[in-house]
Subunit: 286 residues, 2 copies
């Protein structure tokens, strides 16, 4: 999993990824004052591009960042995706270079837009088939409805949680909130079975409203599976018979163990995987 | 209050502040994976430089960022401060450009160090003398002990709180935590009087352990004022007879109103101001 993108666009201009590019006054750099999307691209097409852009537009509106014409980004992503069979495209939008010192924004900033295209990592197919182990992180997420749901650039919680490195026994760490609810993984959303239904934690106090989470909520409902957002307690996690993780890149990963407890990939997980497989294989826009 | 620093050093090298300088792969830019200090400099000397560097070293240790020799930063700050009568120097340290994609750090990153020197804003003397109005922010801070106390680069909460722009009636907004305790202002720490003692909120669940807060705790105790860290409730705020704000630049600002409620600059506030005035006027290292 190389760090180096093979393509980098800054405000639409292609530049050398190894060269300095970002203003040292950028509010993304100073405050994490911005948002990002990680878009999985297969068969030279971005998956669920409209859903990603919808979330980006929504986040920019919440933060009062002037994104400009979203079709500019749409075209950039499509063009970047078309050049290589599979790739991961990260789009970052910040409020741009500061026009005044301090936390307050003036409204006169010009947003910074960065597109980075990375090679697709290799480990994923086995994880989709065989499932992954997870553990519960000792760190709990802070709760702030003003930030919840957005894929913003304040990611120190994920950095810290992830630094308790998942070993051979765990590909992901589950995160609870400070008030004791299960929320997500460090880089994924989570679904658990409860009384025959699928529940994914609400993300209105913390966590990110993942695009694949949204796709699973929609496709599971279309497939006749009972699925909903809700609160998920530690007891729910202990009692569940099925868990799976979602994100834009991994699709659905069945969870085969939580710490020392072993689980099997259950029927709900398999149904969800089947229902979204065609969409992962042949990208659609929404 | 101009946004443009008159001096910018990147890893010790002087560069044009208006030129691109930061790697588009920097983890400070992607995740806010870093820390900063804002150091007030008067009479060509940084105030409390050793306290700032102590906090920076402590934060880097908590985040496992390899800061390198702290004396390099000490010398840079002193040198930058010496060139102009008064200034504000912001030092940023990030984990540096990513060596792998994703939140986890590898330990092989090389930290990025930025020094920005800004002109000193003008409004401060009146605020120190006459006090300022404050209001209570509608936004509450998320609580995460893993982040609490550090002056890290995840500042979206402050950006959002500050965007409810303080008007003529309010120079600062007071922030409560998600569990309902008073913590700080958007850019300041806070002290309140309770039963004749000064209390400043604990910063072990959220908030920043301010350098001026630390100086006030120390100097007030030396001056025989009863002062301590503690929890401060909404009722405490409503009942208090004195409040003041602290930060490295402003020193101590008496609070003359909280919303519609008027306060007078009380005797404790004046004692604290007197006890720290010599240290603000003639900078000492610690």
């Amino acid at each position: 999993m190389s760090a180096n993108p093979d393509l980098l666009l800054l405000n639409g201009r292609e530049i050398d990824p190894s060269a300095p590019a970002v203003s040292p006054l950028d509010r993304g750099f100073h405050f994490g004052d911005g948002l990002f999307e990680t878009i999985a691209c297969v068969r030279r097409k971005p998956r669920f591009l409209s859903l990603h852009l919808e979330r980006l537009v929504s986040g920019c509106a919440r933060l009062h960042i002037d994104l400009g014409a979203v079709n500019v980004i749409r075209d950039e992503v499509r063009h970047a995706a078309a050049a290589t069979d599979v790739s991961l495209i990260k789009v970052m939008v910040t409020r741009g270079p500061a026009v005044a010192r301090g936390y307050a924004w003036s409204g006169r900033e010009t947003a910074t837009r960065v597109l980075l295209r990375y090679a697709w990592p290799q480990e994923d197919t086995a994880a989709q088939r065989e499932g992954v182990g997870v553990r519960v992180s000792a760190m709990r997420l802070g709760e702030n409805p003003a930030l919840a749901g957005m894929k913003h650039l304040n990611r120190l919680e994920q950095v810290i949680a992830r630094s308790a490195v998942p070993g051979a026994d765990a590909a992901e760490l589950l995160l609870f909130s400070s008030s004791g609810q299960l929320i997500c993984g460090t880089m994924s959303n989570v679904f658990v079975e409860r009384a025959g239904r699928l529940i994914t934690p609400r993300v209105d106090r913390c966590g990110v409203a993942g695009v694949m989470r949204r796709v699973v909520l929609r496709e599971a409902a279309r497939a006749g599976i009972a699925v909903e957002e809700g609160t998920v307690s530690e007891a729910d996690l202990d009692a569940t018979r099925e868990i799976f993780l979602t994100n834009a890149r991994i699709g659905v990963w069945p969870v085969r163990s939580v710490g020392a407890r072993t689980l099997r990939a259950g029927v709900l997980t398999q149904q969800v995987q089947s229902s979204i497989a065609p969409l992962l294989e042949n990208p659609v826009d929404a």
